[in-house]
């Protein structure tokens, strides 16, 4: 055997018969699903405010995952259930948390998703990779996979693939996550609670149809396989004291044969190579964790980081030259610029409408709560005599990325995501320590953590939904834009919260005039349109852009209408309008 099998959660002598507890659990899960789905049918998205999806979710929908949380807590601490019952709860939770937009919304959400469709389309259409188009084409791994999947399954399924991606990715994260958690704890209760916390605390929303979602799957899997198949008792390098990293239980050897070790090593290298070809940041996160494991001598494959560095170096040196030629200086300048990173990730982000600031507060609160729980978990482990600091060490490793650069103001979000498996494990220890004696207390702890994180998730995850969702009218409008605008035109939007670039990606120029419109400088907007090299430019105003102005920039109701009136006064012709999209055209002849 090479990887650990799912350990069974044992049945204790004073328990109810399994058939009864199993039937009870199945019944509760069925009721939870019924509540959840009943409520979703009644969602009216047009009434959504800046709090996001939670403002229109009926209480009965929230009651579904809440009931599931209670049932999970009960079964987890009772020791009665079989593994499949706990697994059923976790999978049900994933469905309830991540499938909500699939059911209530009319089109795949999030504008970047559509850009990714456009990039895959370029690869299929041009049959090659042109790295001069933009940075995405220097890391085209995921888009190559996307092109293959959409063509092999038929192009008409593209939107379905895209829409179901968050749910599919989170289901894929589960086995990889279980590998990591099982390497850290022999107590299945800690493992499953860690998995539960992971999914209910994953409000970051980086699991949409994207390179980072795929790369994160590989991140979890690589770390999981390294820990379970190449793990060993730690022997940290000097000056780290060995006693601080000595596990309570000895690390079990995986019992791999030499050929299996070589094959698994090759698989790890292959996975890392495709991550390197797909995403800029994730290879460095993997590298950080693997280096931490090598420093602790927690794994036997001490040469792995060297191979990984060679792969990253080779890719950057040969395959991204076009991109780096224009950006290397800027990238190097940003390394170690912590002030900029703090501003871009924290201070600059706390702006917008009152309700949006409330959402940001909940996000911060959820993060602090989880990290605080992880801290309590560390203390409980120490109190129980487990001095192994490997897991806090790994949870801290992704924070090194903060020094690299601000990553478009998102580096803190990514750090949260990369440290989440380890934070979830430690938070799980806060509720269920090594000594599992006080069952009622453990039940209360699990329930408290589950309910708080569930509330945090529903607000945080879908807090930007007013601008992230895409309506059918917007879809019609944007498709019309590409029918109207000849290739080579400049497409201009009021905000970057616009879904475009999903068609003929490389054939249009794009511009955003947020600053000009916020200053009501309409002549500057006109100049941007008039600067179009081929003399054709189109300004798009949409519902999502209005939502972005109100949500992010705190624009009051009515201000958007006066902004539209200002645009109406420009010498542009209105070529399309429906309830959510208005398109204005500038042409040299008519403009």
């Amino acid at each position: 055997m090479t990887l650990p099998a799912i350990a069974r959660i044992g049945r204790e002598p004073t328990q109810l018969p399994l058939a009864i507890s199993g039937a009870l659990a199945l019944g509760v899960v069925a009721v939870a699903f019924a509540l959840w789905s009943t409520g979703l049918n009644a969602v009216d998205l047009s009434r959504m405010n800046d709090l996001g999806l939670i403002s229109v979710l009926p209480p009965v929908t929230v009651a579904g995952p809440l009931l599931l949380t209670i049932s999970f807590a009960f079964h987890l601490v009772s020791g009665r259930p079989r593994t499949w019952l706990i697994l059923l709860h976790v999978v049900s939770l994933i469905v309830m948390l991540y499938a909500i937009p699939i059911i209530v919304e009319e089109a795949p959400r999030f504008n970047v998703t559509w850009r990714h469709i456009g990039i895959s389309d370029v690869l299929s259409r041009t049959r090659g990779i042109d790295p001069t188009i933009d940075a995405y084409f220097s890391w085209p791994g995921f888009f190559a996979l996307s092109a293959l999947l959409t063509e092999v399954a038929g192009r008409e399924v593209t939107l379905d693939l895209v829409e179901w991606a968050p749910l599919a990715f989170n289901l894929l994260y589960l086995p990889a996550l279980l590998l990591i958690l099982r390497a850290a704890s022999g107590d299945e209760r800690v493992v499953w609670l860690g998995a539960w916390i992971f999914f209910v605390a994953n409000w970051i929303g980086q699991d949409y149809y994207s390179p980072q979602a795929f790369a994160y799957f590989c991140y979890l899997l690589i770390i999981g396989v390294v820990l379970t198949s190449f793990g060993r008792d730690p022997d940290p390098i000097w000056p780290l004291p060995r006693a601080w990293f000595w596990p309570r239980d000895r690390v079990e050897e995986a019992g791999l044969g030499p050929r299996q070790r070589a094959a698994l090593f090759a698989i790890l290298i292959g996975l890392f190579a495709v991550v390197t070809a797909s995403h800029q940041l994730t290879p460095f996160a993997i590298l950080g964790v693997v280096i931490a494991l090598v420093v602790l001598r927690r794994i036997t494959t001490t040469g792995l980081p060297i191979v990984m560095i060679v792969i990253v170096g080779t890719w950057l040196s040969y395959m991204t030259v076009t991109y780096l030629q224009g950006h290397l200086g800027d990238m190097v300048q940003r390394i170690g610029n912590v002030d900029t990173a703090v501003a871009a990730n924290l201070t600059d982000r706390f702006v917008g409408s009152e309700q949006h600031l409330y959402v940001l507060g909940i996000r911060t609160g959820t993060t602090v709560f989880l990290w605080g729980l992880a801290g309590v978990g560390v203390l409980r482990r120490l109190a129980a005599g487990d001095r192994d600091l490997t897991w806090p060490f790994l949870a801290a490793a992704p924070f090194a990325l903060f020094v690299l650069q601000e990553y478009g103001g998102e580096i803190l979000l990514r750090i949260y995501l990369f440290s989440l498996p380890f934070m979830a494990l430690l938070a799980s220890n806060a509720a269920i320590g090594h000594t599992f004696r006080h069952r009622r207390l453990a039940f209360a702890g699990v329930l408290f953590i589950g309910v708080v994180l569930l509330g945090g998730y529903l607000v945080s995850r879908y807090g930007n939904e007013r601008m992230d969702l895409i309506t059918r009218a917007e879809l019609t409008g944007m498709e019309r834009l590409y029918e109207i605008a000849p290739r080579g035109s400049t497409l201009v939007a009021a905000s970057d919260q616009v879904f475009w670039r999903f068609r003929d990606y490389e054939h249009y120029r794009y511009a955003v005039v947020t600053d000009e419109l916020l200053e009501s400088d309409f002549s500057a907007v006109f100049e941007r349109l008039a600067a179009s090299p081929n003399g054709h430019a189109y300004l798009v105003l949409s519902r999502a852009q209005r939502a972005a102005f109100e949500l992010r920039h705190g624009m009051q109701p009515g201000e958007w209408d006066s902004l539209v009136q200002g645009v109406d006064r420009l010498p542009l012709s209105r070529v399309f309008a429906n309830e959510d999209v208005t398109i204005y055209a500038f042409t040299e002849e008519g403009g």
Binding site: P4, I6, R127, A144, V152
Partner: protein, 132 residues
Amino acid sequence: MTNHRRLVEPIAMLAIAEATELIVFANGQGPIRVLFGLAFTLLVPGWAVLRLIRLETDLLTWLGLAVAVSCAVDIGVSLTLLYLEAWSIQLAVTLLVVIVMVLIALDLPFIHDRIRMAAATTVIRLNRGRTQ
């Protein structure tokens, strides 16, 4: 691995691979294409690799690894064709089918045993060389 799995899995993998190739070349559309296309690209290459290395683990981990390895193989094939400016779905699927067939062939008992014997013989020769 049980005899049942040893026999059924390669046949199922080959059937899915060939069905996908036929559907793609015939430009078939509809749910059958979606089902076979996704099952083939997202599961079969990785499944074949994991069988070859005799990995024994629970179904959940196996599925996760199979999907990840399949995606890695898919990306390898697709990127190669794209950088060679030779991308076409027919060629990509054909290459994937060939890879799967090779992996399955390597896993056939008589070939697998011969490879093991050849490897063992090489090791013995190398050891002899060292001692001399």
